[in-house]
Symmetry: C2
Subunit: 408 residues, 2 copies
Amino acid sequence: MGGVTEPVSDEVLLARAYLSRVSDPGSVPVWGYVRSVGPVAAARAIAHGHVPDEVRRATASRRDDADPYADLEAAERHGIRLVTPETDEWPHFAFAALERTGIDRLKRYQAGDRKRAEAGEPMPPLALWVRGTAELASVGVRSVGMVGSRSATRYGERISAELSYGLAQREVVVVSGGAYGIDAAAHRGALAADGPTVLVSAGGLDRPYPPGNTNLFERVAESGLLVSESPAGCAPQRHRFLSRNRLIAALGTGTVVVEAGQRSGAANTAKHCRTLQRPLMAVPGPVDSAMSIGCHNLIRAESNPAILVTCLDDVLAVVGGSSDVPQISAGQLPSTDGLREVLDRLDPSARRVFDGLFARRFARPDEIAVRSGTSALEVIRALPTLDLARLIETGDAGYRIAARLRKA
Amino acid sequence: MGGVTEPVSDEVLLARAYLSRVSDPGSVPVWGYVRSVGPVAAARAIAHGHVPDEVRRATASRRDDADPYADLEAAERHGIRLVTPETDEWPHFAFAALERTGIDRLKRYQAGDRKRAEAGEPMPPLALWVRGTAELASVGVRSVGMVGSRSATRYGERISAELSYGLAQREVVVVSGGAYGIDAAAHRGALAADGPTVLVSAGGLDRPYPPGNTNLFERVAESGLLVSESPAGCAPQRHRFLSRNRLIAALGTGTVVVEAGQRSGAANTAKHCRTLQRPLMAVPGPVDSAMSIGCHNLIRAESNPAILVTCLDDVLAVVGGSSDVPQISAGQLPSTDGLREVLDRLDPSARRVFDGLFARRFARPDEIAVRSGTSALEVIRALPTLDLARLIETGDAGYRIAARLRKA
């Protein structure tokens, strides 16, 4: 983020493709090993079996059959690209929390606390297979995970579609899992508003799951993104569904549970949100519907209760919406030097970025992006204009409103 | 409570009837004056106009026309009796909190803080007009106020009726206001279970309001109670509706709001519950129904949020239900002296009362009644049996489990 990097080398791409094939999603030892020796050396060592025991065990079942050339070729045939932490498209901003929890868990694992590490925090993915026209890096700056029951009621599907329609209209990315019920309604609502939506699939992107949603997958790929941790050909298995939930929680600025039964994946999603310190929201419903039980239990949970949301404004208030009043607005500044006129001449994007700056504290582009409801890229693009207009000043820790504009 | 008192004198009855006619419900100066000089002297002084200015002002409009003889006669014709703080039937237990808030507010009023006293805590009533077969004093030991929108949906009415049916089956008194919508459904649910229900009316009991609920009023009177602060002939006016809400909150061990629009009386009820330190509960509903807005707002209120309840068990968990595990149960006691056998020979009522006793702290019958989910009267009836079995001991502050039964 924040600069142009070299295109990622084929060597790294091949290594990440190989790692994504041989490792189960969320493996602590494999992620730790890659982190320690780098992807290329890790892939080579795994292929030769010259790795620590726990890494060998975690990769044993697939390391001999893995063929990253074939996987990358198959991906290309299906219009799928591989996004790795070394590429510009990697969602560093959205995954910052996942990176942190991964390091925490790895430390406990390495300290020998294997048992706690087993059931621990979510791990970052080794790579992501991606298909579609949107750019993954822009996801998570302002996005909402929306999940819920596969056996949703018409009420749940309606609310889900209405919320995601409204979010998409405001260019908030709707992230969901492509399942029947709430997931599908969330994607459809966003598509209906011609808005961005991201579908995180539990299996390979060449085989939409459930098959009944094949058409939905195609429509999402046309204007949004299909994302999977698994290379083409991987069947969606139970553990992949659970690990998929962590990616939805990580890619969303916050996550909304729309309908959930008593025993549902919602509890799993809630746990991830808590661990990643992302707000969890839940939509209440009729108390005589079994599909409301999970949401009501999340709302009244004693520790880390979900925020009760009933409408689009409630969700925007949590994740930050364009209708939000910025904490420091240009209106609060003195109109010396014809400041108002200068601000009025700014293009809307630069103006939004200016409104996201603090008056006294320096902030990095990522942070400014969140505050101004735009992307880090847009912030970086706007900074020279703002600098030229002598509206900002630079420090080690980023940018802030120029001292000369501040009230005495 | 807790003993047999002399029947109340005709003089006091006449005085209270007069006061209930000349004063508006919840008048701070009138209640304070009655408290200071007693009802008989207060009534006489008001009739002659020899009273402090604010008492004169509060009673001026009606003091000349008031005829307590006629009011009591009219009441008798309609089967209505006057219950006063001097009678055994006065709900001292339920009104203890109201008495406390009344004294607090009176103190502020007398200290000259009239403005704050205007909008202050709820005041106790001067007397209550009552019609029906149930006994008012027993209300509030285990009872639930159930209120909500007059323009309820079928969902709200169904939930309200189901909850009150279940409560009534467990002999929890359902208290409501006799209005259309949620109120009527609450009363009907209790009646369907042949259970006790109390209808607190804003107008005189001779004229059911709304008239469309006349039949409901009759059915409540047959097995439960109609209650009003106003003598026969009083029309239900707006301020009487608001002051009526405080009586529902005071008579309920806790209050449930089932459906409420954005601007509803629910906020008023919530305020009373907060002031009286009674738990407030709210039932969530479909977010696309305007009748859910009030309940959702109560649940997510920043200060004193309502407890989210979805079913009978949730409500019983708040107000105490027969299925509750008592905090000190006989099972926790040592089985020396064949204690288990002694307990097993107790009749169920005495056994329940025993289970409501503390091991170390002395408690009054009122408190024991709440803890054991029974009435103060039943507690008093059971005490001699428990004493005879050497299961309890007596102190200045009430009763507790006999020291010989306690663990070392």
